[in-house]
């Protein structure tokens, strides 16, 4: 209960001011496409040079918390996921915004984020020593099976048919091989200098999601002079609260998946939202509503990506190993003040460590309050005429892709992938499985190669990849996931008929 003792420190005028600044600034940065949480935190580090360690960390922690949630704003309103964490939010969130329910989608996403986020931070407070062991339990073989588990999700995610889902996943896996490979440094498919460093996930995300959208808006603008104006429905916050808590299944699946996966170094943050979305779809009696603006989709995705924030800091705070890129940046922020994280961090610097964690707890709530406030205003984005909107989104897409690595190459990659995706969507392929392939490819490959190198030097491939309870647990889940998909396919015969394709075409335009 030591954390309660330091709670008061969060509310000193300077600390609380910084917390507000970090939260509001983080929401704005998070809502800007291309500015991922990692980058937002890195941008803030120089500002902490002049602050006390405690104050600096409050600023960084608040910014981390709220950029993750802020990413939902562009995901819902513009269909541009700000970071991989927000991909799943676009699927139902944007569909809701198109129906004029943007305010509702944003309210649901901020409330779900706060619930997931508070739960994640509480885990960090109470279970850190146990969680640290879990974070170390995942070796190359386990991460390989985990990535394969992710691949099995590809087939069922947001597609008109399993085959098309798998095909777009394969395109993603191929795109992931471009560039210098992570381990051996071999050059693969570098047909243009822009892709020498591989396809960066963020420009790819922006292109795949935003560009088809922009093209559709432009084509519509030409065909009808009086662009349709969507009436934006007001939505009372009270109703949103009630709705989030009545969707217990989605909320608990999202929070649990986010907390567990968030812990696994290097994998967690990127896929937590997608896995939670897929799982809550599989467990929901209203499967067919997913993807059409169903509230469960938004709640599961957003509670998962914020639940991940707390546990993702466990390896950093206890073992001094950053488990995610954002944690690596936070490590820099700690080191600059001469604070070395590790098991005795809470003994040597209790005031810094506990105030930091407390501020993340309070930050989740502040984030929710400000998020709900802007939700009402931001939903009006849907009123903007299509032509103007398309230009705006295109501008943001170019800015966002360029700013990731200050590279025009990324803008070309974004534009090329976006254009290709526009045509693929006409044939019933969708962007989410493709992006998942792009994210999982390197994880599966690098861990397989590392695992096999270790295996060859020690126990041999067979026993390295197929012994141990964790390996078998993951293998069993993989088999279950594949059988479920096959069974569903046979049961429903989800072929895309010509009528379906026409219907989808109409829904898109």
């Amino acid at each position: 209960m030591e954390f309660l003792f330091y709670m008061g420190d969060v509310f000193t005028p300077v600390n609380f001011g910084l917390l507000l600044l970090g939260t509001i600034g983080g929401l704005i940065l998070g809502a800007t496409p291309g500015l991922s949480p990692t980058m937002a935190v890195a941008l803030l580090i120089p500002f902490t040079f002049k602050l006390e360690p405690q104050q600096g960390l409050i600023l960084l922690g608040a910014a981390y918390t709220s950029t993750v949630a802020g990413g939902a704003v562009s995901a819902i309103l513009l269909k541009i996921p700000g970071a991989p964490a927000n991909i799943a939010t676009t699927l139902d969130g944007h569909a809701m915004a198109q129906k004029g329910e943007g305010a509702r989608a944003l309210q649901l996403s901020f409330i779900a984020s706060a619930v997931g986020g508070v739960f994640g931070v509480l885990l960090l407070i109470f279970l850190t020593p146990i969680l640290a062991q879990w974070a170390l339990a995942f070796g190359p073989s386990h991460l390989f099976w985990l990535a394969i588990l992710g691949v099995t999700v590809i087939g069922t995610l947001d597609s008109s048919s399993v085959v098309k889902g798998l095909l777009s996943g394969c395109i993603g896996l191929w795109l992931a091989t471009i560039g210098f490979d992570d381990i051996m440094g071999a050059q693969r498919f570098i047909f243009h200098p822009s892709v020498a460093g591989g396809i960066n996930v963020i420009p790819a995300l922006i292109g795949l999601f935003a560009i088809p959208q922009v093209i559709t808006m432009f084509t519509k603008g030409r065909s009808s002079d009086d662009a349709e104006i969507i009436s934006v429905k007001r939505h009372p916050i009270r109703k949103a609260m009630a709705e989030v808590f009545s969707r217990k299944r989605a909320l608990s699946i999202g929070t649990a998946v986010g907390s567990i996966i968030g812990l696994i170094p290097g994998v967690g943050g990127q896929i937590a939202g997608l896995v939670a979305y897929d799982q809550s779809q599989k467990f929901s009696p209203e499967k067919d509503k997913f993807g059409t603006g169903h509230s469960e989709g938004v709640i599961a995705a957003e509670s998962a990506n914020n639940a991940m924030v707390g546990p993702s800091l466990v390896p950093l705070l206890t073992l001094s190993i950053p488990g995610s890129p954002t944690a690596a940046v936070l490590l820099g922020g700690l080191l600059i003040h001469g604070i070395f994280p590790g098991p005795d961090l809470f003994m040597n610097y209790p005031q810094v460590a506990w105030t930091f964690i407390d501020s993340m707890l309070i930050g989740q709530i502040l984030m929710c309050v400000f998020g709900l406030y802007i939700a009402g205003l931001a939903a009006n984005v849907a009123r903007i005429p299509h032509g103007v909107m398309a230009a705006l989104v295109l501008g943001l897409a170019v800015f966002g892709s360029y700013s990731v690595q200050n590279s025009m190459g990324d803008v070309y990659v974004m534009a090329t992938l976006g254009l290709a995706m526009y045509f693929l969507e006409r044939f019933g392929f969708s962007a989410a499985p493709l992006v998942l392939g792009l994210i999982l490819g390197p994880i599966a490959e690098a861990n397989f190669i590392q695992g096999s190198m270790i295996a060859n030097a020690t126990v041999g491939m067979g026993s390295y990849f197929f012994t141990g309870w964790l390996n078998w647990l993951l293998i069993v889940i993989v088999i279950a996931s594949v059988s479920y998909s096959v069974w569903m396919e046979i049961a429903q015969r989800r072929y895309t008929t010509k009528d379906d394709a026409v219907a989808k075409e109409e829904a898109l335009s």
Partner: protein
Amino acid sequence: MKKWIAGAALALAAMTGTAFADGHGDYPERPIMLMVSYGAGGATDFQARIVTMTAGNEDALGMPMAIVNKPGAGGRVGWNWFATQAEADGYTLGAYNIPHFIAQSIEGGVDYSADSFEPIANWGADPAVFVVGADSEFNSMDDVVDFAKANPAGLTFSGAGLFVGHHIAALQLEKAAGVKMAYIPNNAGGAGAMRAVISGEVMGGVNNLSDAYRAQAAGNVKILGVFDLERNSFLPDVPTLMEQGYEIDNASVNFRGVMVPKGTPQAVIDHLAATVPTMFENSRVQSRMEAGGSPMHIMTRDEVLAMWAVRQETLEDLLAGL
């Protein structure tokens, strides 16, 4: 009107051009960019931000330096860009990592070599160390080598990747001890390699001194040896590999510093070479680096030129067998 503007622009360009040529220019007249070929938050980026934070002071360059990250492919993307596309006008500086970029240029497939760049000054030197888990049976490098002799190619040890300081240290160890070991490059860099050691996935590892120092303080690892010529002030009790009887020099030490592309006016290079080392010596910079556990090692342009030449030779020799 158009002609007039074009003329004015031309005249202006000519004026600044001559100013540079004479070396009397008010260089620098605008903020300077420092390209870092690793991501924001990494050790190189973190240190670059600290050592350039006083650039705007009157006694330094008088203009702030902005860090621009161009990460990818172990630094190759950034250095390729720096060698081929960066403007050699003195307003585009780059951070170098030795032995990384020299080893990569020897390996091939990149557009740069040591001849593509002009060093300005060195700010840091982070030696590689050999670490094992806290509960490992190994207590000295001899224990490690004995095990490797008994189990050829069976001792697994991690490092941050291929053709980086850790890999060079691994090759040096194998050569000096006359053993074959299993070097496992990690895709998640130094942090991933350290995690592999702590969780027991591998039996040992080569890692950065600064990171290993923190991991040892946290009680997670034991540090068995330093791949450098002398013991380090952060770890006065840990012997060098040389002391333990292995002929290993400082070729794997990760030197970090500032450089400009070839073709930058000599006057600008001279100005930078004179001011940048004093900027690194600033007491605020020193105390921040110290607090972060980042060992500093300031070298002037001439010293860096000599160091680059020696590295080129050692690494060509070491990598010839691969």
